[in-house]
Symmetry: D2
């Protein structure tokens, strides 16, 4: 591939990146030439921001080609946009990614790279606040220049790697937030066996199970009762969904571990596997999903502040973590 290689440099002074061990200084080995832009569909505001962004890049960085999803290329025939026939062309070309939309847009972008590693991602939000979205669109020119000029810092958000011997799932498959197995519409609870490093851990009779990344700890796992895990702690978070037990508590395993979920013969229902909220397959009796972490498969997300911690703001302002009762007028 002719992609421009990003270099992720450690920061010698940890304080300079707020002691976040997963943060790196992003440097380009040569100027980037192909940028993938992913936009949220059906949103008027996003569409005009998109046009503005494309025009800016074409004007200010004429040597950069803009790549978009096939349907977007069709929608904007006059904008000189590139697209792909085979997703492998995209994987070979795009040096960097820009997203315009919300958390869902980033998750969708990650799904385009669900089976390969992913270039650095610069995300803009419009109106909607989101947990994975550092930059407001209003400052897009400055943010892009810094990104282009190797002056950005990225948080390498780990992804989970799924493998299954069955053909209904293409392996490896990467998850940004989580994978979950759920009974879906079946009235009966799913019965799943869980193994850790091939050692039996537990049998889960429940609506389902989540294995989340630290990034995903503030998504579905949080709703299911899981803890909040800082994205700098690489780990696998196992959270049950409505377990038929009083004593099932979320548990964290080191990134070096493998967690295997096996559909038990006792299960009266075929539960559904979803990745980042997207249904992937119905499990078969005896089918195993092995979940691990692989080096260098994380998503390099450009961060707003490299010295402070966006995350601390976000859990307070967006999640309203430990929001006090309202006592004073």
């Amino acid at each position: 591939p002719n992609r421009v290689a990003p270099i992720y440099k450690d920061c010698t002074i940890p304080e300079s990146i707020g002691r976040k061990v997963n943060c790196k200084h992003l440097q380009w080995s040569s100027p980037i030439k192909n940028v993938l832009i992913i936009k949220k569909p059906f949103d008027q505001q996003v569409s005009s921001a998109f046009a503005e962004l494309v025009n800016f890049i074409h004007m200010a960085y004429p040597e950069i080609s803009v790549i978009v999803e096939p349907n977007v290329a069709q929608e904007y025939p006059h904008l000189h946009l590139f697209t792909w026939n085979d997703i492998k062309e995209l994987h070979a070309k795009a040096d960097a990614i820009i997203t315009l939309g919300g958390d869902g847009t980033i998750l969708h972008t990650a799904s385009l790279y669900a089976q390969t590693n992913i270039p650095p991602v610069l995300s803009f939000s419009m109106g909607t606040l989101g947990f994975l979205l550092p930059f407001s669109f209003s400052s897009f020119q400055k943010a892009f220049s810094q990104f282009y000029d190797s002056k950005s810092y990225v948080l390498r958000r780990m992804r989970l790697c799924l493998r299954s011997s069955s053909r209904n799932i293409k392996s490896p498959y990467y998850a940004m937030n989580e994978l979950h197995v759920h009974r879906g519409l079946s009235p009966h609870m799913s019965v799943l066996e869980v193994y850790v490093n091939d050692e039996f851990l537990t049998e889960a009779i429940s609506d389902g199970l989540i294995v989340a990344t630290p990034t995903g700890s503030t998504a579905y796992s949080l709703s299911a009762g899981g803890p909040i895990v800082h994205p700098s702690i690489n780990s696998l978070l196992l959270t049950p969904i409505c377990p038929n037990s009083l004593s099932f508590r979320p548990a964290l395993f080191p990134e070096s571990f493998s967690i295997t979920i096996k559909m038990s013969r006792k299960s009266r229902t075929r539960p559904q596997l979803s990745v980042d909220g997207k249904p992937l397959a119905l499990l078969e009796v005896g089918q195993c999903i092995e979940v691990t972490h692989e080096k260098n498969t994380g998503i390099p997300c450009v961060i707003r502040n490299y010295d402070g911690d966006d995350w601390v703001n976000d859990i307070n302002n967006l999640l309203r973590w430990n929001h006090p009762f309202h006592r004073k007028q």
Copy 2:
């Protein structure tokens, strides 16, 4: 109808029924003549217990007719069993009910009476322990005689009454454990508005919502994080399923209240309504489900001990409530 009317007598000395206000002394106004027997299907042990029970009744109480589900009548042509074509015939006939199986068998029995009130229920378990099952089959002769001789005590387990203006749900519809509304296989959370006595209470963005009876507090609601509620406290228990909020906590409302669940226009998915675990309908945008409690619609379940409290034993032994850590060998 020519059903024998059960009389539920208050106990003058509350201590004699363990202070359980929902417990009554069951007295028959005249000898019972038609008994419905519901058995768990596909279970060898249950089938032989069933044959034994039928033979016993025919021998010892020749004036009693035994009614069974149509497929059971077909399966045992030689046993002199009665059945029904129209469920209304059953409702008009059966004076009392016996169940053989597990909790699921009782829930199935309740579903046969989901739109009308239900005669007293005497339940036997075999092998499987269950939360709703007082009697071991081994003592079935004694248990039945006491029941027949007006020497039993019943716990009147309240049911919820559902009503909806839409035609996809027959109203009223009664729930023994709970009703729940769930996103099912949809990747998107359901958005539901909740009203209490027609006053807006909250908007729930979540996998779904449960409205449970005290009986149901140890079923799905417990898995979703709800409290354990003694069946003598008539009340409506609202428990969220994986809510997208850090501050959604289960809440209990008095039996005199109505809780209405409305599918919001914001919901990107049509959530599914289930009663006692059985799917009933997909909700439509704007559709309302009103949940109330109606007098005298509860299920009169014969209890093992009228002075002690089966329930206290069951939460300890079956649910392993407050099971201590294992410290000593």
Copy 3:
């Protein structure tokens, strides 16, 4: 005693009181003559409101005597206030109670009547919002006139009744929010046995145990993980504090039950009993605290709206129950 008897009339149309079964229409058998006013101490704003209220009563209702706590009588020698030497004088005199302050002021008021039944309470807040505080002081004249003229509705908030054979606790002792037993400063967990109707329920190894009223369900019990219980459901809520077990879940018992907490011989620490947050005694090995509910010992609290439900507003606005994540700007 020469107290004016309050009459609590059922409402014939439950809808007119928002279906709240514990709500009653308060009627005075003759005009009230002695009003106890309890004010929050050390608060400038409360003090001027107090003076304003006393002057208003003296002007508009000259036949009413105002009773205050001994230290308040001393503080305002010129205001023609009455007080007591022996608390029994107060109990014999006061027909009605007004509180000025916050939830703590109401709890303090309840503690003055911790061993006897309590007259109707009209509460005013200033500035501070509170869960038990219906009226803003700004409308105090109207609120008092309605109260005086038998036009108010009260919510009868049930209290718990504590009894102990040991002399370190005066029995009976009434709790408005809860009683709790806690290890306090001891490094070791307390070991407590719990009995329900004198039947063994469980052994709790924990920081402590709470037995709360529905009113108290939004106080300490909520912090310890308990459900929210509407004050119209008379019941006893048992909530553990940091239990040394994965499977201890809050449980609700009917008001007709007794819950007994016994300090176990295994306890390496003498835990402390508190009522409504106030330390009462250190338990002795083997000491039992019996908790029951007694008819007509509740606190009649005047409510703002007799048709709507203050409580629904309060759990939303004060407790921020099910507060959504912040997604939109």
Copy 4:
């Protein structure tokens, strides 16, 4: 000091140590000569095991000196035991540690090294099962020989490092399980400010706060609702104790972070700081406790199995994690 230096070697094949990144092969640079033995007091069984162990060491390893706590030396004058006057002598001498007792004995041992780093620890349990106790005493000879012969593997359990500018706490002070700040006997909740890397995180109004290690995640933090964290994930776990908020959820921070707990001016009570369950000091208004992780201050605990995972067994067998309901006889 003349201590024998332990060498902690990485395992080249992670599978050989069950992928536990915190596990190391323990090798002695020269034969150990001074062994500290800590025994649980007042326990007949432990006392005879102690005598047996000392005799074994004296017989089989005559060149090893056995060091014990001063009171134990006095209790066993005939056993040729050494002890210390100044704790610094102990720190300079002991090459290795053996504990006989329960989790509490290990925590007590750690407290002897609360201000310095700690030599490898080999623990034996008798009768009592514990979470931190790998070896049964019955196999003590084999376990000790392997330990002596550099054939053991250790799990380096991280400790927390506390620092405070106030003189009531000696800094640094190390915690094996957790530190917690608690209102103690005060009826009022404590008000604590929490800072992360000197950035304001939240104000906690609660009974208290816990900052736990992964080891401590199965101790007090678990009781307070925290997740289970595998000891191989170095991290700081913040868990609230009965918070006065519906939305306070446990949170995990990277080991590179600092968490500071500051007693707020708003606090009406002086909360107590405890380390590993032992009271250390009453906080003063404005006092800050800074919690960090320092390299090489962990506790090297000899593990039973270096290929499987004791921890997986322990959460299942001891904590009864996800213990199923009891359905079958």
